[in-house]
């Protein structure tokens, strides 16, 4: 489990080879500095920076970037080293472009992960203002073991002041050479492929109806998978009650200028976040004794999209916890009743006359009373969440919305990548009236597996394997169509491997509208061809990124995210192809190549445990409701419902037609 650190908090590290991920939403310089037991940096050879990216046990990137991965090997440190500081700085402080203070950009996020990618600890550096350099984390030796501490100490004087403070004699010249190396890197690098939100584009995006235009700045990136980002302010008292909202009120005159929509944006592009975002919609004052009326977007965030995302995660957590309270109370009531009944049974007096019956009756009554009480509380909470879902659901943008949401009928090809994607709905048996949207952060961090195996469906209805495959393929097409639709034109490419052609019919929405890069690959030759091309691509992009020279990619190189749908695995796959597939699953996600397997795990059982890591690395989804997903807080088993297009609806076709038209226009 990830420890979300707050400033000053520490956490033990069990592994010595670590990766430190940084996401800042804007290019930053990442530097790693070694210190002795007093935290002093002895010399320039103790600092890994863009000009000298590798030092024993340390590796940092050669240039400023919004996302970094720093490699640290604590075993490789000499005994003199007691601290490893992770430092971030804005390039502007050294004369580069971009914002010059951390207060003007989204809060940087840093995470310490093991080599297996599992997060050990994470820290969002909040509260920075005029600082242009910050000590983000510190790994330190304590009684022979290593720990990580969230530091968050900022410096207004940039790296020079920071390094001076750490006792480095050559701080100023070193800061100068770092800035020089960064400036060289910036001049060399091409624009990173998928650019993140900018205000001008936002206003043209299909904003949620009746909610006011959606504006605001760069969404914090990189908050991993199912961990809700920045929940700090969410009161446990449930949504709707107006919690500690950021008080952006005040300067009412300044805000509307940027929110009037339309294509012209007068705000300075370099100062996106310095203007306060529009105030979140506030709940009307509650009637005394009544819970507050819920409103859509009643959560923290820089944009309506982010607020809705956080609100959905807040509802998810509240439902998980309310249900945990209920289940715990029911369990307790049952165990108490069992104990009392047992006592009554073993008591010789109860064998005489009606005394035993009376005791048993009382035990049952006590049980029923407690369960009723617990149910009453749960019903109160669910009613509040249902009321909230009723206002949130219609307000969701297409990427978060169900296919039957009118937002999809008003669909237009977006100009930018949304924060997240709805993969389906989640529900619990106790709260059948409420469906929580299952939102997954974009870009994808792991592949998807649509399980076409014979699952035990919830309602006990029997689905035979042929129907199941058909359903699984329909589901895969719905997911792929949604991904295609929420990415801007040309920024998402879908390849299909359908060795036996069995998916021709379900794939018709994709093939018919012409949104695929190429027709589905068939036969063993087709499989080999597609896999070889994607493998080559992953290798090429990785080499370019590792070498720090993304501009070395061939001209006209397609930088979009790639999705490979594989139907009927392992049909048509030889050993070489299976290996290539495993390579894609392992290495692809970091360079934007993702898998969507439509498969029955049983059919590849001949490979034995060899493929287990592959299946584990994928997020399993089912074409029929199935309870196999757990929430990150309590670990309830949630019933997942796939996002199917309503029967007879033309929405998929309409949306894909628009996507295809936009792709054609973009390719021209």
């Amino acid at each position: 489990m990830t420890a979300e650190l707050v400033r000053g908090q520490n956490h033990p590290l069990s592994q010595s080879r670590l990766e430190i991920r940084v996401s800042a939403g804007t290019p930053v310089v990442a530097v790693a500095a070694l210190g002795d037991e007093n935290g002093r940096i002895h010399g320039v050879e103790w600092v890994a920076h863009p000009g000298a990216p590798t030092q024993p046990g340390l590796e940092v990137s050669r240039q400023a970037a919004a996302d970094h991965r720093l490699a640290v090997d604590l075993d490789a440190m000499t005994d003199a080293v007691h601290r490893v500081g992770v430092l971030l700085a804005l390039p502007a402080a050294g004369g580069g472009p971009g914002p010059a203070r951390f207060g003007a950009v989204a809060a940087p996020f840093v995470a310490v992960t093991g080599l297996d990618g599992d997060e050990v600890a994470s820290y969002t550096i909040t509260g920075l203002e005029a600082e242009s350099a910050v000590v983000a984390l510190e790994l330190y030796r304590r009684q022979g073991a290593w720990k990580v501490r969230a530091v968050g100490q900022g410096y207004t004087g940039g790296l020079a002041e920071l390094l001076t403070d750490q006792g480095l004699p050559e701080a100023v010249p070193l800061a100068g050479s770092i800035n020089e190396a960064v400036a060289r890197g910036l001049a060399r690098s091409v624009q990173a492929p998928p650019s993140r939100p900018s205000d001008g584009d936002r206003s043209r995006q299909t904003a949620a109806p009746a909610l006011g235009p959606d504006q605001g700045g760069t969404a914090p990136q990189g908050a991993p998978g199912p961990v809700p980002p920045a929940y700090g302010g969410q009161p446990s008292g449930g949504p709707g009650q107006s919690g500690p909202q950021p008080s952006y009120g005040g300067g009412g005159a300044a805000e509307p200028s940027a929110t009037t929509g339309g294509p012209i944006n007068y705000s300075h592009p370099g100062r996106r976040n310095s203007a306060p975002p529009p105030p979140p919609p506030t709940a009307p004052p509650a009637q005394p004794g009544q819970p507050a009326q819920p409103v859509a977007g009643d959560a923290t965030g820089w944009s309506m999209e982010e607020r809705l995302y956080n609100q959905v995660w807040g509802m998810f957590e509240d439902l998980a916890r309310s249900t945990a309270a209920y289940r715990s109370a029911v369990d307790f009531a049952e165990s108490r009743m069992d104990k009392e009944l047992e006592q009554a049974l073993s008591d010789p007096r109860s064998r005489i006359g009606g005394q035993g019956d009376a005791v048993r009756e009382a035990a049952r009554a006590r049980h029923a009373h407690l369960v009723d009480q617990a149910r009453e509380v749960l019903d109160r909470d669910i009613a509040q969440l249902v009321a909230e879902a009723d206002v949130v659901e219609p307000a969701l943008p297409p990427a978060f919305a169900r296919w039957d949401n009118p937002a999809w009928h008003a669909y237009r090809v977006p100009m930018e990548i949304p924060m997240a994607l709805r993969l389906g709905d989640l529900r619990l048996p106790e709260a059948d009236r409420i469906r929580i949207p299952m939102l997954l952060r974009l870009p994808l961090e792991r592949g998807l597996w649509i399980d076409s195996g014979r699952a035990d469906s919830i309602d006990g209805s029997f689905t035979d394997s042929h129907d199941m495959r058909r359903l699984a393929m329909d589901t895969a097409v719905a997911h792929a169509a949604r991904l295609l639709a929420v990415y801007p034109a040309g920024e998402f490419t879908v390849h299909v491997i359908d060795p036996a052609g069995s998916g021709t019919q379900p794939l018709a929405p994709l093939t018919g509208t012409g949104v695929l890069a190429a027709p589905p690959a068939q036969g063993a030759a087709g499989v080999t061809d597609v896999l070889s091309r994607l493998t080559q691509r992953v290798d090429l992009v990785q080499m370019a990124l590792r070498g720090g020279a993304p501009d070395a990619l061939p001209p006209g190189f397609d930088t979009s995210q790639q999705l490979l749908i594989v139907n009927d695995f392992p049909h048509g796959f030889d050993d070489r192809a299976v290996n290539q597939l495993r390579y894609l699953a392992d290495e692809g996600p970091s360079v934007g190549v993702h898998l969507m397997m439509v498969a029955d795990r049983e059919e590849s059982s001949a490979y034995g445990p060899l493929l287990d890591p592959l299946w584990r690395s994928l997020l399993r989804l089912t074409p029929v409701p199935n309870s196999h997903l757990a929430d990150p807080w309590v670990g309830h088993a949630w019933t997942y419902e796939p996002p199917l297009v309503p029967a007879g609806s033309q929405v998929l076709h309409q949306v894909l037609t628009q996507v295809a038209a936009a792709r054609r226009a973009w390719n021209r």
């Binding site: 000053g8 008292g237 449930g238 916890r321 945990a324 307790f332 009531a333 807080w633």
Partner: protein, 188 residues
């Protein structure tokens, strides 16, 4: 507030409290002699154990910061103390209105994780604050601590429709709340 004293958590105006915070603060006692200015770090940990009819149901401590039902939240582990110089170093927030119906007692404990006894701790206190308005309801000082490494601070339990807090102050020994269970059970 002294040992054994109980206060009702009803507000003066008749309404009952909805959210309280149990705050814990301490400083390491300076050692005398050569290098006397050097203080040793002391890690005290606050924990809250939730009981239903004397059965422990859930616990909130530095490895489980939020109770499963979300009603009790720990603000995070502080390993050295003294940062606030009189403020809370660790705090546990309890949303009394959301505590599950079967939970009838919550016991707050303090443990010395690093093993020093309370003799080496300075200015340690535990206090109960009305989280809605910041008003301090009760303060309990650990001054003159004895040679023990843990203390049961207080318990909050249901009485009628509301909640009552009782100061405990029982000394005990142990590194985490698990070691304290034998000491807690008699006070329930």
């Amino acid at each position: 507030m002294t040992k054994g004293q109980a206060i009702s958590l009803q507000k003066n105006d008749g309404g009952s409290l909805t959210a309280v915070r149990m705050g814990l603060g301490w400083q390491a006692a300076p050692r005398r002699g050569l290098f006397g200015s050097r203080t040793r770090e002391i890690d005290l940990d606050a924990s809250a154990v939730l009981f239903a009819d004397k059965q422990p149901v859930d616990v909130v401590f530095f490895r489980h910061l939020v109770s499963d039902d979300g009603s009790v939240r720990h603000t995070g582990d502080n390993l050295v103390g003294g940062v606030g110089q009189g403020g809370d170093d660790e705090a546990i927030l309890v949303d009394l209105s959301r505590v599950p119906v079967h939970i009838d007692q919550i016991v707050f404990t303090v443990n010395s994780f690093t093993g020093q006894t309370f003799q080496e701790v300075q200015n340690a206190f535990c206090r109960l604050v009305d989280e809605t308005n910041g008003q301090e309801l009760a303060r309990y000082t650990l001054a003159g601590g004895g040679a023990y490494t843990a203390q049961l601070m207080a318990k909050v339990h249901r009485t009628g429709g509301g909640w009552t807090m009782t100061a405990l102050g029982n000394p005990a020994n142990g590194r985490t709340f698990q070691d304290l269970m034998p000491a807690i059970l008699p006070v329930l």
